[in-house]
């Protein structure tokens, strides 16, 4: 019997440690596991941000279900001024259209966008395809396969939009992340992938086009989709900070100022340079408008590609 009592006491202890929380303490939710691409940017962002804000902060990784579990936790903390989320593009602008979630694009107070990287259309360097035109021609006979880091992710959506808006014939094969997809590309299981410059450089791939309005610095020979005679397609991997709805105007302003100061700091700049993340700051109002625009555009793509009714 004593054994049972000790165990119950231990259980009670766990409960007690969870309920204690200070007011000058900020929870930064990262909706991915520790060590992922988003987590690393968030962890470099966190110390500078909390110093500017004058609080003690903790990065909490709440992962699962395409980053929606952590995002939902932020949305569900309505009115709590001690929690923010460091969010990826997919969880804010794609997932709410794909499935029933406890949040939507209107469930947040938007603080700022931190970084944004345009996506490239790319093929393996070992393939003999040199241009988008050639890719389309060769796909007519036998459709290509394109990979993605999972269903409903940005690489998936960008390619789905491209196949809808051009004559390219290609089918989707999802993988559990960019790594396994790159393995498949190296083994010629898939032939096409849309992803950022980081992937392009790390895996030595050949870019054919860029999903952006203008050509990208450092890649002067890579045409935009519009230059190829296609509709405008703007896909970028971005990240930003959101807070729950119902926090005070004053607190929003504090967050926004701290965020701006953080992304403009030398420390964050030098990190972003190393991690090949392009700093692309947007303030609260611009960020909100941006997310709403992306949300609507992605919703249309999902519909056109037949991924949602």
């Amino acid at each position: 019997m004593t054994t049972l009592r000790y165990s119950l006491a231990a259980l009670a202890l766990i409960g007690a440690t969870h309920s204690a929380m200070a007011a000058d303490h900020l929870d930064i939710i990262v909706p991915f596991s520790a060590g992922g691409a988003t987590d690393i940017v968030a962890r470099s962002f966190e110390p500078i941000f909390s110093q500017r804000l004058g609080v003690t902060s903790v990065v909490r990784n709440v992962a699962g279900a395409s980053a929606t579990v952590g995002t939902a936790e932020v949305a569900n903390s309505e009115g709590n001024p001690n929690i923010i989320g460091y969010e990826p593009a997919g969880a804010l602008s794609i997932q709410p259209s794909l499935k029933k979630l406890p949040y939507g694009p209107d469930s947040f107070t938007y603080i700022c966008r931190t970084v944004s990287n345009p996506m490239f259309l790319m093929v393996s360097k070992s393939s003999d395809i040199e241009s988008f035109k050639q890719l389309v021609e060769e796909s007519q006979e036998y459709p290509f396969l394109y990979g993605s880091s999972g269903p409903g992710t940005l690489p998936h959506l960008a390619m789905a939009a491209l196949t809808v808006n051009s004559d390219l014939k290609a089918e989707h094969v999802p993988y559990s992340g960019s790594g396994p997809a790159m393995n498949a590309l190296a083994g010629n299981e898939i032939q096409i992938m849309a992803d950022t410059e980081t992937i392009l450089e790390n895996y030595d791939l050949r870019p054919l086009a860029v999903f952006a309005e203008n050509r990208v610095e450092g890649y002067p020979d890579v045409p935009t989709m519009q230059e190829l005679g296609l509709a405008e397609m703007d896909f970028a991997v971005w990240q930003g900070v959101v807070a729950p709805k119902g926090i005070s105007e004053e607190r929003t302003q504090q967050y926004a100022e701290a965020c701006k100061a953080t992304v403009e700091s030398d420390k964050f700049k030098s990190f972003a340079d190393k991690a090949k993340a392009d700093i692309a700051y947007l303030g609260p109002d611009d960020f909100k408008a941006f997310v709403q625009k992306r949300f609507a555009a992605n919703k249309q793509v999902l519909k056109d590609a037949g991924l949602t009714p």
Binding site: T3, A34, I40, G64, V173, G179, M182, N183
Partner: protein
């Protein structure tokens, strides 16, 4: 040569060596505590590395990683509770040996096999990383599907006793793994409209419930004091003659671990089960497996520690992380301005060589630190049983929830614990449940991806590539062999029944 000397210089700084000692020791302890595994250990230590230089931070993380994979075996052997999922297969023979009073021998073999597997995979990593990476790239979805099929077939044999009960548990594990988002379409499955379930059931909470919590329940309910006492942890290394006798087992386990670790998306838990299944078919002492045979411990521990080295093969050669843990390491490298990728070995050769040196030192450190770590566990387990069990419950829940910060995982761990207790009472083996959860997702997504690639034509799987064809032939041979063995066994039984029964055997 200059490069290697320079790399040695990088690795043999006092900061790096201190980081190795701290990391490895902490890793062993974290791995040994049920629920806290490699991922939790690395998450704890990752923030500390931000201020260190790249070699020191890698040394710390590699130490935690290798240490935790080894540490899981300590509790697996002592109290039938694997500290990490990677050590689940170690319980098969480790715990029976403990019950027979051979704790020192079991821990000795686990330690030596871990060291051997770790070092052998380092050697492979140093000398054949580019070649192995190239070979691993040829393992596409269809090849992985064939490999997982073969592994699952072999593993069916792991469930001792009733085959049917083993299959029931295996299917249950497989079913658990299908809860959550569909890997191909992203749609929610088996969530019953509950949003919390859409992230699926994670492996760690299930393993914690199935092994750690159910063990606590079993010990609570045992009336007999004898059954609930934990034997004193001691360590006795095998001598050279014993090692020589089992060298082939050590080498086989290490090679299987190195190979499986180099494939993306598999990991150390799968490697340990596959290696155990291989031992079951090939070990000269296979009849004793599951009853306290060191070969079983060797199969499991040499292969799961071999994964620690070989998981770096795709990471360093191609920039493709082999599992969650190497993905975290890649993240840590990015923070220090090293971007893993196809050119890493050329651009950052000195850093890569220093990492190799670090990996080897970590394995040596593991061997040296095994004694004090086991001493610590001996001290911990000398506490009154209530404290030990309470501690296990506490760490189990902490581990279950800290993997991804989802409170649902606490409920999952608790319910799995109760379910597992009921299953154990009914004589159902729990290992197949974990195997189903480990291999199920790999089987499902590789099959469905394979079908997407072959445009829905399953027959073309068999002719897809040489590797796939070979694996399917092996599967065919295995089926024929098992059926033949079964028929022969059945015939022998019939024949035995016809024999006149002697009075002495009828009682047994």
């Amino acid at each position: 040569m200059d490069m290697i000397l320079a790399a040695m210089g990088d690795a043999f700084t006092w900061q790096a060596l201190l980081a190795i000692v701290i990391g490895t020791w902490a890793g062993i302890i974290i791995g040994g505590l049920p629920g806290l595994g490699s991922v939790v250990g690395l998450t704890i230590f990752l923030p500390f590395t931000f201020g260190m230089d790249v070699i020191t931070s890698m040394a710390l993380l590699i130490g935690v990683y290798c240490g935790s994979v080894y540490g899981g075996s300590i509790t697996a052997i002592l109290i039938n509770t694997p500290g990490t999922p990677q050590s689940a297969a170690t319980t098969f023979d480790g715990y029976p040996m403990t019950q027979q009073g051979r704790v020192d021998e079991a821990l000795g073999w686990a330690t030596f096999a871990s060291f051997f597997g770790g070092v052998l995979s380092c050697v492979l990593l140093i000398f054949c990383a580019p070649q192995l990476a190239k070979f691993a790239v040829n393992f596409g979805s269809i090849e992985v599907f064939a490999l997982v099929c073969l592994a699952m077939l072999c593993i069916v044999g792991i469930s001792r006793g009733s085959l049917l009960k083993g299959l029931v548990c295996g299917m249950m594990g497989f079913f658990f793994s299908t809860v959550g988002s569909d890997p191909i379409t992203g749609a929610d499955r088996f969530t019953f409209g509950t949003y919390a379930l859409s992230s699926g059931l994670d492996l760690i909470p299930v393993v914690v419930g199935a092994f750690a919590l159910s063990e606590v329940f079993v010990r609570f309910s045992a009336r007999d004091e004898e059954a609930t006492t934990i034997p004193e942890a001691r360590l006795r290394f095998p001598n050279l003659r014993e090692i020589g006798r089992r060298l082939i087992e050590l080498v086989r386990g290490s090679f299987i671990g190195s190979f499986v670790g180099a494939l993306p998306g598999t990991g150390a838990a799968a490697a340990a089960f596959i290696s155990y299944a291989a031992a079951q078919k090939l070990s000269p002492r296979r009849a004793n497996l599951g009853k306290g045979e060191p070969d079983g411990i060797i199969a499991s521990e040499s292969s799961n520690n071999a994964v620690t080295g070989s998981a770096f093969i795709p990471t360093l050669a191609l920039g493709i992380p082999g599992d969650v843990v190497t993905a975290m390491m890649m993240g840590a490298m990015v923070i220090h301005g090293i971007t893993p990728g196809v050119r890493l070995m050329v651009d950052q050769a000195q850093t890569v060589y220093a990492l190799f040196v670090v990996l080897i030192i970590v394995n040596v450190a593991m061997l040296v630190l095994s004694k004090p770590s086991i001493g610590l566990f001996r001290y911990l387990f000398k506490l009154p049983l209530g404290f030990v069990m309470g501690g296990i419950v506490m760490f189990s829940f902490i581990g279950a929830v800290s993997v991804r910060g989802n409170p649902l995982d606490l409920v999952v761990a608790a319910l799995t614990g109760i379910l597992a207790y009921v299953l154990r009472r009914g004589g159902y083996p729990l290992a197949p449940l974990v195997i189903g959860m480990v291999l199920g997702p790999a089987l499902e997504s590789s099959l469905r991806r394979g079908l997407l690639i072959s445009r829905g034509d399953f027959l073309s799987f068999f002719t897809h590539s040489g590797i796939a064809a070979t694996l399917f032939v092996l599967i065919g041979l295995f089926l024929v062999w098992t059926t033949m063995a079964g028929v022969l066994d059945w015939r022998a039984k019939i024949a035995a029944r016809r024999e006149p029964v002697s009075p002495s055997s009828s009682r047994a």
